[in-house]
Amino acid sequence: MASATRPATVRERVADADRSVGRLLLVAAGALFWGWLVASWVNRWLGGVLVPVGQPLIPAGAVETAFAAIPGFAAYAADAAFVVELTPELSRGTWLTVVITAVSLVLGFFIAVPLAVTRVYGRFSAWLSLAYTELLRGTPLLAQLFVLYYGLNLASYVPGAFSGVFARDVVWVAILGFTLNGAAYQAEYIRGALESVEEGQITAGRAIGLSKLETIYYVVLPQGLRYAIPSWTNEFVYLIKYSSLAAFITVPELYYRADQIASETFRYTLIFVVTGVTYLALVLTASKLMERVEERVSIPGLGADSEE
């Protein structure tokens, strides 16, 4: 922890935490965070089995009393109670943040893989892929969302099967926007990784009679996608945070709800510190998760940290 060089990335910091007492703290914090989130969601879905819907899991009054009783903490008792009162709204918003991120990421992945493959191995299609990627990466994400929502008014064209899944159909517009945009970024990361697969292996695949497409499927992708994990994790982390832009097309996710409460109570600092910590917890979960995935699928004999 007191090493001379400071870890540069969240990943490295998390990796460092692994080797120290910090690991226990991190696991405890994670369990607490996700325990609170899941309990809040379940409580809402089941119509208030734990506490009435809209109420915090622990009464704000009790937290205030407890804080007041601890010497030195009395001054923060009111703030602590306020934060606890925020939690039902924040957990609701976090649900949408998690769903939008996860769905967009997965859908984007299935667009990104063909985009990357055509970019590397296609001829005419490589240009189409390049054009798509540059257009989506070269224009502001917020502008893209505005075009989809205000410009094309897509929220009123959500197909019947999808309509009503979320409280507001605009969520689908956000998912579409993040899927299309994220696919471009994911494609770039995957393209780089595909290019790092040795050319000779493709030749060898062709030499045993696999077609070009089969060689890509059985030889290039299994390796390329593994190599893409570290950089792909960046996109995952970005998307968690960028999903807050959905607030600007009225999606009631985490940032939207925080902003609403702040503009009613004017307690901006406190609310956005708590919101920021929530995003941080999501980001740490994502990077920790992907680190595990990377370890799990690493190829024996090839260094696990050879991607750096």
Binding site: T203, A204, I208, S211
Partner: protein, 248 residues
């Protein structure tokens, strides 16, 4: 020069842009023959080898394999490659697959064998090259010699009627060359038809039925090893052999 030559290469020429890399190359092989292509680097021997399974495209000439025209535009290239095995200088193993996985991929995905049958065949072939104890090792866990033997097993698993070897020992440390040559010796004894590009002259002398000396994309001289090595007719052949000998 009989009509039933197994492989007959006739007047094959190839250009890269303006540069002619093969010029009217001709030779032929019978079933079970071992032909070794030798020559200085850049002489076109690897390119010639790759024209036989169409990894490189010859622009002129004819390559008849078992009576079929390899260079025909109507030929199913994937089917040709099913029948012609290839071993590479750089091994080119699939890094994410175990030894068995490398060898089984072709039988499973190209020949359509079941998972179990493909694995069985892969294990047989790996035993054949002496790697029964490394079935589940990944390429990065194997020595160069072991990797190349997996490469040979991978080609053999397709039950090819012709094997192409593209400098199979050139990337190996000297002490690892022997184990690969030993496997190749075994194949010769089994009667495999082999077209080999190599700098291992003693191996060539021992096993080749014919040596083809290429220089500047042309066949300078060809003949049985004793003739070509001991009584070369062309001055260029003699000079090349001297240079090689002084390196050994």
């Amino acid at each position: 020069m009989s009509d039933d030559d197994f492989l007959r290469v006739t007047d094959v020429s190839k250009w890269y842009g303006d540069e002619k890399v093969l010029e009217d190359v001709s030779f032929e092989m019978d079933r079970g023959d071992v032909t070794v292509l030798i020559g200085p680097s850049g002489s076109g021997k690897s390119t010639m080898l790759r024209c036989v399974n169409r990894l490189a495209e010859a622009q002129e000439g004819s390559i008849l394999l078992d009576g079929e025209e390899v260079l025909s535009p109507d030929l199913d290239v994937d089917e040709l490659r099913r029948e012609v095995g290839m071993v590479f200088q750089g091994f080119n193993l699939f890094a994410h697959l175990t030894a068995v996985g490398n060898v089984a991929l072709g039988p499973r995905r190209v020949l359509g064998l079941s998972e179990t049958a493909a694995r069985e065949r892969a294990e047989e072939q790996l035993e054949r090259v002496g790697l029964a104890d490394q079935l589940d090792s990944y390429p990065a866990e194997l020595s160069g010699g072991q990797q190349q033997r997996v490469g040979i097993a991978r080609a053999l698993a397709m039950e090819p009627k012709l094997m192409l070897f593209d400098e199979p020992t050139s990337a190996l440390d000297p002490e690892l060359i022997g184990e690969v040559l030993e496997v190749m010796h075994g194949l010769v004894e089994e009667g495999m038809t082999m077209l080999v590009v190599t700098h291992e002259m003693s191996f060539a002398r021992e096993v080749a039925d014919e040596i083809v000396f290429l220089d500047d994309g042309r066949v300078v001289e060809r003949g049985p090893p004793e003739q070509l090595f001991d009584r070369p007719e062309e001055e260029r052949t003699g000079r090349f052999l001297e240079r090689i000998a002084s390196h050994d």
